[in-house]
Symmetry: C2
Subunit: 337 residues, 2 copies
DNA sequence: TCGTAACAATGAAACGATTCAAAGATCCGC
DNA sequence: GCGGATCTTTGAATCGTTTCATTGTTACGA
């Protein structure tokens, strides 16, 4: 299990200089066909594989970019990961992935690790207060792009989705299909995303003089939390029921849907329209296919890499904040009466 | 924006030899307290960060292991990823993640990339026929552990879950709760996992003289495919209906559940019991909480890293295949009558 | 045949860490 | 004060690649 062949071994085997082998690999045009053939044959016979560590050492930086997400299990982030991987591949680099799991300590670990790896740049959806660490990185010339969080444009670029606009879209759609007694389900409102979506919904409701918006705070963002809110709605009976419900995410919406349909007292969308947020895979296959707000995750990931690429090249980088607008996906759960 | 400080800069700044700085970092005990303090101060002042490329070059190998999964979006794999990351962190190494997306070309790309990175070992859930590439790796002393696929033990270690046992468990549970006319929903049977689960179910059914098993092949493994199978069952009416249904995964089961409950003609579990496979997050929050078969993903990932760690050390590694037994999770959808 | 482009090939130096034999300090007992 | 043991520190050599100034080769028109 002797150590693997180096460029020197290849050079000896092909009776050329090491520089020539390097040229074959990096600048094939500079090498004559005959030598190229000999070298390639030698490479093949020895099973030579480039040692990336040595390349990096010489180059001063790696060909990887770091990506730190809050949770690989979250469909939003897996989509971003995939897009980032694809986009990076186009630039000829690879993605180092770290999952902070909402844990500031793990996040810090990954930042340090990636710094030792001399990543070309960093994509991060931050948990803790990492501005200090990121400032250090920036001073060293490692650009950072914040994902799903707006940033001080003097310092960082960022990509995010406009949750206020998403909330507006959802509520506006309910209003446009004739609903007037709206309810917002979500919580805790200390979560920025929740607060922004609610704010957007409020904005839409204000546009209609006769429309009202009731806020039903949920315990978390799960199906079960949604079901418990749904149950309390069912208890109100037909009188007190809103005619349009906007949930801060699809899981909540599915929970609410279960409560309302299970009892067979209310029909969706005839008695009450229901719209969620995120457009998860399950939305389309719910009992009543769920209308939702789709976030352009693919574009988000791609753009993040692109912003990073712009900064990696330049000496005096300018920063940009790109905000994406979410998209309304209409399905049966909000069909007009 | 000047290039970052090297160990030499630190040595100058602290007026010691480079070897001493290295010792401070790697063998603190060899260094006197006074020098240690001076060096650490210099490191701090210069903001020195180790260059991992140089370390690797010297060491001949990296401190990373490669992990190639079929799909980061799949909860099974995200669980494995998390477990692997945690386990690797304990060994002081990091995980390089690649998503092959069921694409043999991307898979091959990642293998090559990881080889250039000189990963210490490789965890892979293979798509294409990679035995050749993996053989090459093995000859170079890079051990590989196959995930979720059994391997020739002469060559590789592997970790997998016993799908036959899972199928048996599911069917046995239906039988134990008094059901006798069973149906298996899944397809295409060319997928190994589907075939194995069916085989296990058959084994269980054979144990009861008066039990029967009907196979309903589905078009894929989605909620919609399940719903279409469910609809055809509803059409049969109460007579032809099985009294216990085992679906090859939870998505199918949820689809079947939707069909059966939507029409309000059949009740779960009174008229028909339903059990799925994988125990996805949604199983517990289905309209009728779904019984399922849980795969020990966490143990799987942890063990995979451990097997790898065993081989990384040894000169003449022995291979092991670890097969995990899945676990029955009973919920309301299979409650006894 | 000569001069000169244009093209190919060479190999030493550099990247930044670790290693290790050797040199230098320090301490202790007598 | 001395010999010897122990503890610290030193710095050149090394890992495998890329770079680039230099040298060698070829081709072609005059």
């Amino acid at each position: 299990m002797n150590r693997s062949a180096s460029i020197k071994d290849v050079a000896n085997h092909a009776s050329v200089a090491v520089g020539t082998v390097s040229n074959v690999l990096n600048y094939p045009d500079r090498v004559s066909q005959r030598t190229k053939d000999r070298v390639l044959k030698a490479i093949d016979e020895l099973g030579f594989v480039r040692n990336d560590a040595a390349r990096q050492l010489r180059a001063g930086h790696s060909r990887t970019i770091g990506l730190i997400v809050l949770d690989v299990g979250n469909p939003f982030f897996t989509a971003v990961v995939r897009a980032a991987e694809d986009a990076a591949a186009l630039h000829g680099s690879a993605v180092l992935l770290g999952d902070s799991g909402h844990d500031a300590a793990r996040e810090a670990n990954y930042i340090d690790l990636f710094q030792e790896q001399r990543v070309q740049g960093l994509l991060i959806s931050p948990v803790g207060d990492v501005t200090e660490r990121l400032d250090l990185l920036r001073e060293r010339g490692v650009p950072t792009v914040l994902v799903d969080r707006l940033a001080d444009e003097a310092k960082f670029s960022s990509v995010a989705v406009d949750d206020d606009a998403g909330g507006y879209l959802a509520a506006r759609h309910l209003l446009d299909t004739g609903r007037r007694r709206l309810a917002f389900v979500g919580g805790p409102t200390s979560i920025r995303q929740v607060a922004d979506r609610l704010q957007g919904a409020r904005r839409a409701v204000k546009e209609e003089a006769d429309a009202t918006l009731e806020v039903l705070e949920s315990e978390g963002q799960t199906v079960l939390a949604g079901r418990s809110v749904g149950n309390s709605l069912v208890e109100r009976g037909r009188e007190g029921l809103p005619d349009g419900i906007f949930c801060a995410n699809d899981l909540l919406a599915l929970g609410v849907m279960q409560s309302l349909t299970m009892t067979h007292t209310f029909r969706i969308p005839e008695d009450v329209a229901l719209i969620g947020y995120d457009d998860i895979d399950f939305a389309v296959s719910a009992v009543v296919p769920l209308s939702s707000i789709r976030q352009p995750t693919e574009a988000l990931g791609r753009t993040a890499i692109q912003l990073l690429a712009e900064e990696v090249g330049s000496r005096n980088p300018t920063h940009r904040s790109v905000v994406f607008t979410p998209e309304l996906v209409v399905r049966q759960s909000t069909k007009a009466n």
